[in-house]
Amino acid sequence: MSTNTIALPELPTTRPLTLRLHEWVTTVDHKRLGILYILYALIFLALGGIEATIMRLQLIRPHNGFVSPEVFNRMFTMHGTTMIFFVAMPMVFGFANYLVPLMIGARDMAFPRLNAFSFWMSALGGLFLYFSFFGGNGLYGAGSAPDVGWFAYAPLTAKTFSVGHSTDFWTLSLLSSGIGSIGTAINIIATILCMRCPGMTFGKMPLLVWLNLVMAGLVILAVSPLSAAQIMLVVDRYLGGHFFDTQAGGSAVIWMHFFWIFGHPEVYVLVLPAFAFASEIIPVFSRKAIFGYPVMVLATVAIGFIGMSVWAHHMFTIGMSAGANTFFVLSTMAIAVPTGIKIFNWLATMWGGKIRYATPMLFCVAFLFQFLVAGLTGVTLAVAPLDWQLGNSYYVVAHFHYVIVGGILFCIFAAFYYWFPKVSGKMYEEAMGKLHFWLFFIGFHLTFDFMHIPGMLGMPRRIYTYEPGRGWDIWNLIVTIGVVFQAAGILVFAANLVWSYLRGRTAGNDPWDAWTLEWSTGSPPPEYNYAVIPTVRSRRPLWDLKHPEDPDWRYE
């Protein structure tokens, strides 16, 4: 028995289901809320995946009639909105919720009730969005789910062009989940600044904590403008306002600015936690301390700052002034520098290390290469003249899926396998993990490598079908075949989680021989996390414990 857990009076283990459910619904515990966030994200991952599959089936061959154009429009809108706001964001917040207090040696978040409020606001947003399938019919029976695209450009969202309530559900869902996101971001910052255990100065925080701090700052600065823009859209749609009404002097372009002021920092909101997972996992599986900790922190902060000033590179094709184009070309290219520094740091961490290729590490290594490619296609798109050619084509779609799937989702999978033993107390099945990795890896590359090509050949995004003989056919077929492998990978992943949770062998407190605080408490951690609040003297407190003859704090 670990001495860091207190024997509490045993609760009867067979409490009725309703009571247990009630505990989950009313919980304010950061670990339970983290798990709720993650489960919620997994449900929406399945929904968003089904929508993507429907689109790919429609595009598998030219002149296909699998779904109607109207349904296709709904599918890409729902897929994008779901994946960003109800998969990626709750996933990121779920892990932050679960891990940050444990890693800084705290017993909970700074504001546990705000935490629960934020989760349920986000959950309400997801319900709003999917209720639109039933309730979006509105006045004239037109539309069901929103079909305005995930960035909902004006004037498509105007009452004239979007009758019924589908767009209203879209905007309400983003507004409600936005309030939840801001609440959680406030909570994360307050937790990190005010709840660290004694000795954990800023220079000794695990990198995951640092990256989530910057992520939360970006959420506050980026999601708030989105909420403001949604309020304006509500004013336009319900009160007859003219913010984005071009006929009354309003501007469609200003919606684009407001949306992308959110939209681009959002990419960093999602990718910084992915970096955070890689920064924890790569050192442990290379058996080396992270290379260049201070530089990693500085690069993160630099990404946070520069990330706020690149948004209009999404708008090169609308015809901005030469000065604006130049500024956003240069700022976008500048952000490649701190990102590149990070990639070199991870490589240097692996260099000369004793690498263990367990499933989390496999996903992280694939992430390194895929994120590099995603960054390189990003630099090509940052060149405004090339963007005029490639903008709104499948090249763009391939690029950002390389970032979000190849970069972020791979790291999220790595995090699932790495922290699964901590959260569940059980070890996952390594063979199934590796099978998941290879299926998903092959599927990812089939889909998104080959998706660049029709884009370069001029295939626009968001078309529901295309003419044969334009050289796009074979590429679209390959892209759709990749979906099969990805779907199979996801099924193996889900089966692994369920099977290991029910039947897996006990993992123990520290199965990876890791160095951060969460591995010092029980698996799963007790409700109070730490019976005695720990004290730390270095960035790797558990290394110091395991190697008292050669502790880290001598060198930091």
């Binding site: 670990s2 406030i186 910052i189 708030s224 304006m232 913010f243 520290d510």
Partner: protein
Amino acid sequence: MSALSIGLPESNFEWRLPSRGRVGMYCLIAAEVAIFTIFVVAYLFYLGKSTTGPQPKDVLHVPVFYTIYLLSSSLTVHVAVRKLIAGRMAAFALLWLLTILLGGVFLFGTACEWMHLIYDEGLTISTNLFGTTYYSLVGLHAFHVTMGLLALTTVAVFYYAARLGREHAERLEILSMYWHFVDAVWVVVFTVVYVIGR
């Protein structure tokens, strides 16, 4: 048994962290600043772009007195918290109620201004771009004043239920940070709407 979970190096050094309430409120204010920035940018961007009347210079009157009421409420709330810390409860209650009164008078002023604009000048949120941006920006601020008044009133209720003491001074200080923020936003809105925009 495991040395893993115990005895992380103990030492008796001083360990101080910022107050979480204060940090939380600063973060909330940062988020609110971002929201207001977007509305202010929209207001400035759309200045003079209305295709029909009325225009700001025709209908807006500078609300000098109501502005003075609101800004002075920042002073009263600040002094009120000082009094609470000093344990002078009666003075605290008086100043706190005065703050609520000043905020309420400001809201009343906004209501009168809107009455005038809607019924005398025929300007509503859907009349033109000026109406849309004006009511949104001023309304967003008025909404924040209302929220602040609700919070201030809650404190007053706790006071009269004899549930308020000096130990709550920090919480009240944090609430007063929000109130100062609402006042500071009014300075910006005032400048944008009644000085630059007129």
